[in-house]
Amino acid sequence: MAAGYTFEPRILGFLCNWCCYAGADLAGVSRYQYPPNIRVIRLMCSGRVDPAHIFRAFSTGQDAVFIGGCHLNDCHYVTHGNYGALGMVYICKKLLEHIGLNPERLRLEWVSAGEGIRFANIMNEFGPRIEKLGPLGKGEGIDEHELKFKLEAVTKLIPYIKLVQSERLRVSVRTEEAYNKFFTSEEFNRLFNELIIDKLALYLHVSARNQDIGTVVVDNDKIDRIINKHQGKAGSLVQVLLEIQHENHWLPQDVLDRISKKLDVPLSRVMQIVTFHKTFSLIPEESNE
């Protein structure tokens, strides 16, 4: 560390009103000391915490996020929101890990209203731990811009991730054991990778590529000539695509739009044909002809 500068970690805490917040309050009243870096937001239930909140926290400069709720099976709501928080945190930790951040920056604890000293102990352990990890990103050695980009990407995918989680990554039995078993299983890993990581990678790749390609110059006359050669018939869609692929070696999106308009076929049909077989290439690479 540079001389004269001490890193003060910024920790954001989401505490549930009934248990954890009361517990924190008790710690304060009982004068149990703990580091002052945690800023607390009070929610009615830990289950209310959304991945969007977590990633917004990280995106706006927090170094760690803490979620505190009632003990499992003690949730004050019939919906057992704390199980929801548990599942959500497993997924968020994996996401953090994937973008290169230390998953320990996100922590979930069950603290009851009477466990003031426990709350203080947790904070006394968590604060220094984050201090040791260093500032977000810098501590893991990630470039600032890259981190911002990746956090943005994850944030954009959150609506999709939530739908996927509720349909595919849920546990039917509400016990701690079942949840732990599922979220540490091979099956979960595989499903998570295929459903979420692949899409995230695709997103990152697409946006990186868009920056590389920039604007594509398309020779409209050449395209029109080929279309007219086949008398602009809707039935010759496949022949037109084959010829353009042969001449140009790839099919830019603008060309597909033009073909769709000129031959009066829906763009979805054009997309279906060009993705149907590896004969066609949607990226400017050498095709295997």
Binding site: K156, L157, P159, Y160, L163, V164, S166, E167, R168, R170, E187, R190, L191, E194, L195, K199, L202, Y203, V206, S207, N210, D257, P266, L267, S268, R269, M271, Q272, T275, F276, H277
Partner: protein, 219 residues
């Protein structure tokens, strides 16, 4: 080509007459040109379907409506939603073979979407085990209801199929979806899993703005 159009062509040369067929031992009168499924529904006989919807042309891909059809001594297994009825046709909607097929199709699909209500109802009836096959990540089973609805009813073609074989999936066409879907979304309730919604929000999120304002794309 759609079954109905063929009926019209054939109708030009024959009179549309009434045909008597047998379904599960019951005599059913139906109009020429109907499919087995339509005939069964008119007689209140239930045949399960997954990819069928009255407002759309029958697609015949889920194959769960497979029934035994016997004509002139030959029995074959056909998709009820597509097979046109003919005189003296004998149909059996349940049999050992048919049940076996339906059970396995359900098990294939449950590996993708175990939480789908339509699948769960049928799974009970046919004794399908949702853990028979390894879990698949994609929870779309390509019934095509969304694609066909958008193509045939809305005529917007905002969502279509891409890729082939085991990699086949639905995908929204970004430009059309951003323009049309938010004011429509009529296909959403048709989806038996919730993959359609997931695909839609994914599409929205993948709308990578060249500048960081979303409004640039909404023109």
């Amino acid at each position: 080509m759609p079954v109905r159009e063929v009926r019209i062509i054939m109708g030009e040369h024959k009179e549309m007459s009434e045909i008597i067929i047998q379904i599960d031992g019951k005599e059913v009168k139906a109009a020429e040109g109907m499919t087995v499924l339509e005939a069964a529904q008119s007689a209140d006989i239930f045949i399960p379907t997954l990819c069928h919807y009255e407002k759309l042309e029958p697609y015949g891909v889920c194959r769960i409506c497979t029934v035994e059809a016997e004509v002139r001594g030959w029995t074959k297994l056909v998709a009820a939603c597509l097979y046109p009825i003919e005189q003296d046709l004998v149909v059996r909607t349940r049999s050992e073979k048919v049940d076996k097929i339906r059970k396995m199709i359900l098990e294939f699909l449950l590996a993708h979407a175990p939480c789908s209500p339509q699948l769960q109802d049928l799974a009970q009836e046919y004794g399908a085990d949702k853990d028979r096959f390894e879990k698949e990540s994609s929870f779309c089973f390509l019934c095509g209801l969304c694609v066909r609805y958008c193509a045939e009813v809305e005529k917007k073609n905002a969502v279509g199929f891409v890729n082939c074989g085991a990699r086949r999936e639905i995908r929204f066409i970004l430009e059309i979806a951003l323009k049309e879907c938010n004011s429509c979304k009529e296909c959403f309730p048709l989806c038996p899993t919730s993959y359609l919604q997931a695909a839609f929000v994914l599409t929205e999120s993948l709308a990578f703005p060249r500048d960081s304002s979303q409004t640039a794309l909404m023109k």
